[in-house]
């Protein structure tokens, strides 16, 4: 999976806390796909303390949404589907882009390319 590779360039998933970060974020219906992607790309910029705090924010969000999910299951499902759909769409575009990179035989992106990637994901 090419998209795994690109994400891995930015995220050290060995640490289980970081995995939690990505899982919670990916699952959230509170952020747009673009916001999620930017947070993942910028992950390397965040300090450990910031990462920790962000995980708390996401956990809180998860609890809020879980309550709303119980309260309004149908509405939640619609949102969930939409979130999945836009996230998948984002991933598809990411894959295309990475595909282009692969053609150029480059494996690691430099700073400029990261900037390019960021500007490309403007829904």
């Amino acid at each position: 999976m090419t998209q795994d590779k690109i994400i891995k360039q930015f995220i050290d998933l060995k640490n289980s806390q970081n995995r939690r970060f990505v899982e919670l974020l990916e699952d959230s219906v509170s952020f747009t796909a673009k916001e999620k992607l930017f947070m993942i790309i910028d992950f390397y910029k965040y300090s450990d303390k910031q990462k920790e705090k962000l995980v708390k924010v996401f956990e809180n969000d998860y609890r809020h949404i879980r309550n709303l999910k119980e309260k309004y299951p149908d509405d939640y499902q619609v949102r969930k589907k939409r979130t999945k759909k836009t996230w998948a769409f984002m991933m598809e575009r990411l894959e295309e882009y990475v595909g282009d990179l692969a053609k150029k035989q480059k494996k690691i992106m430099d700073f400029e390319e990261i900037q390019k990637l960021k500007s490309k994901f403007d829904l």
Binding site: D4, V29, I65
Partner: protein, 864 residues
């Protein structure tokens, strides 16, 4: 950063999920569906929509859905705030907490609007909407467009369910907005100048658009934001104007007398309508609207892309340039008196000018300002040169000022002018003078010519020489001096105080006149003097005011012994009954307090304790009703009301803990709380006041019997007057209070009280207009939210919309539907300039709103 190794965990986006997502709404995407089937479905839906019950149900469902969406949006906001607090940015754009706070305020605003829509009479709205479907199908193709969404959704592979909901929202919203605008324009014309109305309506429809677009965008749905972006509406507004004109064509032809109502509109008639258009103003205002549209596009296609590249200088420049332009635009077109004078002067027909000239003699003293003004109007109308027109506008302004001061000095002249323009044929001139403030707001009591004042004082002093009239003349002098101080009064407080003195002095004079016939004759003689006409009008006005009040007190004075006895008895009954009802209401009030505490309970423990307490209270309500017939009666009366249905439900389910808890958690008790507060206000506050009023009426009668007139009586009268006015205001403020108070006052003996209240509320009509306007504004905002919601649903319902320019085009159109309807209304009324000005105003406001959108767009993560 480091490179991955083979064994590290990875995030896998399962392909089958992507595929599953693609299948969302799969059944609707079936391309095999036949066109006849689609048409049949649309027809079925149309048939359904002629049933008000269906409307109401869907209305309520939509409102509930919007509320649920807001809950998600709020939760999403919390997560965003948290993120911004930690890392200071979102989607790569820096965000401050202030902008988030503003965004939160917007959500609160939208929530308030939803409450307002909920408070609207959905029943009658539904009935009208159902009726409207039939009319729309027959008359208005454009309004049918939302109904075509179903087929579009199917053909483009979207969701029919959503499309149908969007249709309902859009059609109902459009119909209701149409009606609200009708009412608003009718009422507003009575009390505010039309140029403000245009800006006001344009502002109201746009603000809602902004609020709604932001709220929906916060809920994390990119597609909904596109069509509602204020700037997207600017170019749209222009082609929408053409639609407005086309759909207004028929009504316009009727207004212009080109065709009869019901007659068909032929090509010839259409030509005539087009010829009747005020092309000069349409071009001028249209040009401004187009400039603002270009301004919007400049932002869209240059400033915004630059911002994406991280260059904020163009945005700063764009904002800096736009702010003064907008300010100047509104200053000139809406708030500048001179421009407005010019606009109104232009509309005055030649025959009206001629007719007014005939009404005055050119050699008549003081008539020259009128002729001067008419001459300037004439010149203004016939001048095309821009510079000259500007000079003439100044001249017009001066002429109006001269005329106004003349009129304020000379009552006869004022009356003559008012009479001359009072006929319907002089409507434009009348409007012009009204707008210019000539004669309209002249306070007769303040505009007495100083010479007349001096002359009357001299005559009063001469009268005082005669010892027989000494006292009377003294009071007359007092009246004159109080009129003089009223004229000098500057602040509101000073004026009110001085007016009270004028009224007091007048009453004294009148009492003297009643007392002494000879003195009365002398006063009449003074008033008959032609040179004292201003003074006479002032005297007349005071007399009318007193007569009106006299009617109230005459009614009190003329109560027979039996009636008076009954009134006293009624007073006692009202007090006792109110006291008893307040006591009977207390279990309901306590219950409501506990219910709302339960809803806010922070932890499970207190929640459980409250639940047990509420359960006991519900049981007690039933028990008490069994034992106490009075309580049973009140309970039945209260629970029969629709707004208490949630409490009724609690009582019904009280035996099942699980359902009761669910009902408590999910129920909306706001309506019941509001009504209960209304009941309490009537019984605990207003009814005791009625008791006090009756005591005072009784006291006044006793004083009259002893012929003790003087300060005490005056004070009593003033108190009674203000109490009655207070009741009338309260009753106008709330339907429930009106119903309940009228009910409380309807028992035998008390009939006179509602009559007295009615007599005191002479301002009722004006207050009603103000209420209609305020209510209308709130409804427009609310309905715009509903329409925006419809647009969002529409965008989601089809695959075709929301992608590419075509979707954007159509969505922008629907998000500007408020502007379309307003413009259409103005066209129908033949007010072409206002029709286009509405679009220009709206575009100008949009540019301003766009700046706000940029600020919050950082939070949405969509703009930059």
């Amino acid at each position: 950063m480091r490179r991955m190794t083979k064994n590290e965990p990875t995030i896998i986006i399962p392909r089958e999920e992507v595929l599953a997502v693609d299948k969302v709404g799969g059944e609707n995407r079936d391309r095999d569906i036949d066109l006849p089937v689609i048409l049949e479905k649309t027809e079925e839906r149309l048939a359904e929509l002629t049933d008000p019950a269906v409307w109401e149900k869907e209305f309520r469902e939509n409102l509930e859905k919007a509320e649920r969406d807001l809950e998600f949006a709020e939760s999403s906001m919390q997560a965003r705030i948290g993120t911004v607090e930690v890392v200071g940015e979102l989607s790569g754009a820096p965000v401050t907490i202030e902008t988030i706070t503003q965004a939160q305020a917007k959500i609160a605003e939208v929530r308030e609007n939803l409450e307002k829509i909920k408070a609207m009479d959905l029943k009658s709205l539904s009935a009208s909407a159902a009726e409207g479907i039939k009319v729309f199908v027959k008359e208005n193709m454009l309004s049918l467009t939302p109904l075509l969404l179903g087929p579009i959704a199917i053909l483009t592979g979207g969701s029919v369910g959503l499309a149908v909901r969007a249709s309902v929202e859009l059609t109902a919203g459009m119909y209701a907005l149409d009606k609200v605008l009708d009412k608003l324009m009718e009422s507003a014309e009575e009390i505010i100048p039309p140029q403000y109305l245009v800006a006001l309506v344009a502002g109201t429809t746009n603000l809602a658009e902004m609020g709604a677009s932001q709220a929906s965008a916060f809920s994390g749905d990119p597609i909904s934001e596109v069509g509602s972006t204020p700037l997207g509406s600017n170019p749209t507004n222009l082609y929408l104007t053409v639609f407005a004109l086309i759909s207004a064509m028929k009504q316009r032809a009727v207004t212009e007398g080109i065709v009869q109502p019901g007659e068909k509109l032929g090509i010839k008639a259409i030509k005539q309508v087009l010829q009747s258009l005020d092309l000069k103003n349409i071009k001028k205002q249209g040009g401004t609207a187009a400039l603002f549209a270009l301004d919007a596009m400049l932002f869209q296609f240059y400033v915004r892309p630059q911002m994406k590249k991280g260059d904020f200088i163009p945005f700063a420049a764009w904002s800096a340039i736009n702010a003064p332009i907008m300010f100047e635009y509104f200053r000139r077109t809406t708030f500048s008196k001179k421009t407005q004078l010019g606009n109104y002067a232009e509309r005055i027909g030649e025959n009206q000018i001629e007719q007014l000239k005939e009404g005055f003699d050119e050699n008549q003293t003081g008539a020259s300002p009128i002729f001067e003004l008419l001459e300037t109007i004439n010149l203004y109308q016939n001048t095309e040169d821009k510079k000259e027109r500007k000079v003439l506008m100044d001249k017009l302004h001066q002429a109006v000022e001269v005329l106004r001061s003349q009129i304020e000095e000379d009552g006869d002249y004022r009356r003559q002018l008012q009479d001359s323009v009072s006929s319907a044929a002089m409507g434009d001139l009348q409007k012009f003078l009204k707008m210019a403030g000539v004669g309209e707001n002249v306070d007769v009591l303040r505009s007495i010519n100083s010479e007349q004042m001096d002359k009357a004082t001299v005559e009063a002093i001469q009268l005082r020489e005669d010892s027989e009239f000494e006292e009377g003349a003294e009071s007359l002098i007092k009246l004159l001096s109080s009129l003089d101080s009223y004229k000098q009064a500057k602040t509101k407080e000073q004026k009110a105080k001085a007016l009270q003195k004028v009224e007091d002095a007048y009453y004294e004079v009148e009492i003297e006149m009643d007392w002494d016939e000879e003195f009365a004759k002398k006063v009449e003689q003074i008033l008959a003097d032609e040179g004292l006409s201003d003074f006479k009008s002032a005297f007349d006005q005071l007399k009318t005011g007193k007569q009106e009040l006299e009617k109230v007190f005459g009614k009190i004075d003329n109560l027979g012994i039996v009636q008076n006895h009954n009134l006293l008895k009624f007073g006692n009954n009202v007090l006792a009954e109110a006291h008893r009802k307040t006591e009977l209401l207390s279990p309901f009030v306590d219950l409501m307090v506990q219910v709302s505490t339960f809803k806010r309970a922070k932890n499970k423990l207190s929640g459980d304790a409250l639940f047990v307490d509420i359960k006991n209270r519900l049981n007690n309500l039933e028990k008490r009703a069994d034992l106490d017939p009075d309580f049973a009666k009140l309970k039945q009366e209260i629970l029969a009301r629709e707004d208490f249905s949630e409490i009724q439900k609690l009582i019904e389910v009280r035996l099942d803990d699980h359902i009761l808890k669910e009902t408590l958690q999910e129920g909306k008790f706001k309506d019941s709380a509001v009504s209960l507060a209304g009941y309490q206000e009537v019984n605990a506050e207003l009814c005791p006041q009625v008791g006090r009023l009756i005591e005072k009426i009784h006291l006044l009668r006793e004083l009259k019997k002893e012929e003790k007139i003087g300060q005490v009586e005056r004070n009593l009268r003033a108190e009674i007057k203000s109490m009655l006015a207070g009741f009338s205001e309260k009753m106008q403020g709330s339907e429930l209070l009106e119903q309940e108070l009228t009910k409380a006052l309807s028992s035998p003996g008390g009939e006179i009280i509602p009559e007295l209240i009615q007599m005191t509320s002479e301002k009722r009509k004006k207050i009603k207009h103000v209420r209609t306007i305020v209510g209308g504004m709130a409804s427009i905002m609310g309905l715009s939210v509903l329409l925006d919601k419809g647009v969002t649903d529409m965008a989601e319902s089809t695959k075709f919309l929301g992608k590419g320019a075509a979707g954007f085009f159509i969505m922008s159109f629907f998000s500007s539907i408020g502007e379309y309807l307003t413009t259409k209304k103005f066209f129908e009324r033949g007010e072409d300039k206002d029709a286009i000005k509405n679009i220009a105003d709206s575009n100008a406001i949009n540019v301003g709103l766009a700046k706000g959108a940029v600020a919050s767009s950082a939070i949405r993560g969509l703009f930059v």
